[in-house]
């Protein structure tokens, strides 16, 4: 832009800019409008919503602002979810309060407007006897661009410092960096990563450098570290990523931790539920024998 002698502001023509480039700068060209529309549509599709079970309506405020929370236990991935389902979650003592609906390329469901209750990917429960204790079962993949949204919609922007968060997840043993060969590793095995403000002892050894945590567990831990919330992640390295009894049982040391104390159900009964869960899943696949 440049000012003329008469005070008007004109656009300066640049000799470096060709005719075609000038056309592209035109903001209302039909191509740009369509691109923008597509981008907006995609953003809408990828929006993360938290629905309240009672009303089936989207929550306007973060979940933990709506419901005060002192303990938040989260399972990410099918093995961690199966572990909590068998050993902690029991329909009589826990009540479903909400779920998150989200879509990304990894989801199998194509219609995102009419997701049924069984399609809910992250389900939140609260303990009937103590409604400040929350459980989250997350069996879907939350993409990188959706993780911040998920955190915003679930956790408060000014969280309660009395909140304690426990996350359970699993990862393939080949992603574990160690000088030893992965054949010699006693998989499945548990590793822990905690925030600075977490004072209690972990139920297993801490995750050594240069190993890093990925995806939603990393996002949750980062959030907790920033807001100085005591949080611990239990990461199970396993050689079987599908639902597997041995992997699920590797989480058992956590049952003795402070986070899960008082929440554990009858253990032999739980083992039965676990076997049923795994067998139902196993029968479907004939690729490996």
């Amino acid at each position: 832009m440049a000012a003329t002698f008469f005070g008007e502001v004109v656009k300066v023509r640049s000799r470096a800019v060709t005719e075609e480039e000038e056309d592209e700068e035109e903001p209302w060209a039909p191509d740009n409008l369509e691109d923008r529309e597509v981008r907006r549509e995609l953003e809408r599709k990828r929006e993360v919503e938290v629905l309240q079970t009672q009303t089936n309506l989207s929550l306007e405020i973060p979940l933990l602002e709506q419901y005060p929370c002192s303990k938040f236990i989260m399972a990410i991935g099918n093995n961690a979810v199966a572990f909590l389902s068998s050993f902690v979650l029991n329909s009589e003592t826990w009540e479903e309060i909400g779920s998150t609906k989200l879509w990304n390329e990894w989801c199998r469901t194509t219609d995102t407007t009419n997701l049924s209750p069984t399609d809910a990917f992250c389900v939140f429960y609260c303990l009937k006897s103590d409604p400040t204790v929350f459980l989250c079962q997350c069996s879907c993949y939350v993409a990188e661009d959706q993780q911040y949204q998920w955190l915003e919609k679930v956790f408060w922007s000014s969280p309660n410092r009395n909140l304690q968060i426990t996350v359970l997840t699993s990862r393939h043993v080949t992603e574990y960096k160690t000088p030893e060969s992965s054949c010699n590793l006693p998989s499945p095995f548990l590793k822990a990563l905690k925030t600075q403000s977490f004072q209690d002892a972990a139920c297993c050894t801490l995750l050594e450098q240069p190993n890093i945590v990925h995806d939603l567990p990393a996002a949750v831990l980062s959030y907790c570290q920033v807001w100085k919330i005591p949080a611990i992640l239990y990461l199970c390295y396993t050689d079987i990523m599908k639902l597997d009894l041995v992997t699920i049982e590797a989480f058992k040391p956590i049952l003795g931790s402070k986070s899960l104390k008082g929440l554990v159900e009858n253990v032999p009964h739980d083992t039965e539920i676990l076997k049923k869960l795994v067998t139902t899943n196993e029968i479907q696949s004939n690729i490996y024998t």
């Binding site: 006693p186 079987i240 597997d244 009894l245 041995v246 076997k275 029968i283 479907q284 490996y288 024998t289």
Partner: protein, 250 residues
């Protein structure tokens, strides 16, 4: 960094890895456990049976296959790959018998399978077989043999070994419990195989399949009842051992 070297089977990575072969070894770990034991006068193969769907015919889901009258094998890994390897091995056994007028030795057929597997680690456009096999049998000299092959095409003779999921746990159990006493008699060797599998099989005897070959006798598959009675005996022995232990403590 590995990603650049793991697409083509015929490409080594700068640090000497053949990633496709290593990934094939991961596929083996997805199969259920199989254990092989070489006794004095017996060879035993035990496998963890996969749960079968209600409408599926159980006979079509087999992990133990006879290659000839005196040789059999158990595998862990990709079912379809195993079928191809077993078919080729069976043909080779018959071809050898017709050509040389002698049955194959266990080592010969193991070497044949291992060579087949190795060829697929060095060919363009093919991928390695995603199975490990335990091959057992008796040679003409009456000596029992147990061999193990893996996707890379290597083979080794073993006294006892395990493959598949939780193979490490079973191998550790065998290292502790395989002694001259535990393989002194046929029944002890069979019990050792079942005990090793019970370390990792969750639902007990009904998910175990067992096969034995005795010297100069054909392959024998155990029925579910026979396995169950072995499991009951093992559990009794365990209880008695525990009672003795607690008495000693007192």
């Amino acid at each position: 960094m590995e990603a650049r070297y793991d697409r083509a089977i015929t490409v080594f990575s700068p640090d000497g890895h053949l990633f496709q072969v290593e990934y094939a070894q991961e596929a083996v770990k997805k199969g259920s456990t199989a254990v092989g034991i070489r006794g004095t006068d017996i060879v035993v193969l035990g496998v963890e049976k996969k749960s079968v769907a209600k409408l599926q015919d159980e006979r079509t889901v087999r992990k133990i296959c006879a290659l000839d009258d005196h040789v059999c094998m158990a595998f862990a890994g990709l079912t379809a790959d195993a079928r191809i390897v077993v078919n080729r091995a069976r043909m080779e056994c018959q071809s050898h018998k017709l050509t040389v007028e002698d049955p194959v030795t266990v080592e010969y057929i193991t070497r044949f399978i291992a060579t087949l597997k190795q060829r697929y680690t060095q060919s363009n456009g093919r991928r390695p077989f995603g199975i490990s096999a335990l091959i057992v049998g008796f040679d003409d000299d009456g000596i029992p043999r147990l061999y193990q092959t893996d996707p890379s095409g290597t083979y080794h003779a073993w006294k006892a070994n395990a493959i598949g999921r939780s193979a490490k746990t079973v191998r550790e159990f065998l290292e502790k419990n395989y002694t001259e006493d535990t393989i002194a008699t046929d029944s002890e060797a069979i019990k050792l195989a079942i005990r090793a599998l019970l370390e990792v099989v969750q639902s007990g005897g009904k998910n175990i399949e067992l096969a034995i070959i005795r010297r100069n006798q054909p392959l024998k598959m155990f029925s579910a009842k026979e396995i169950e009675s072995q499991v009951v005996d093992i559990e009794k022995e365990k209880e008695e051992a525990e009672k003795k232990k607690s008495k000693k403590l007192i």
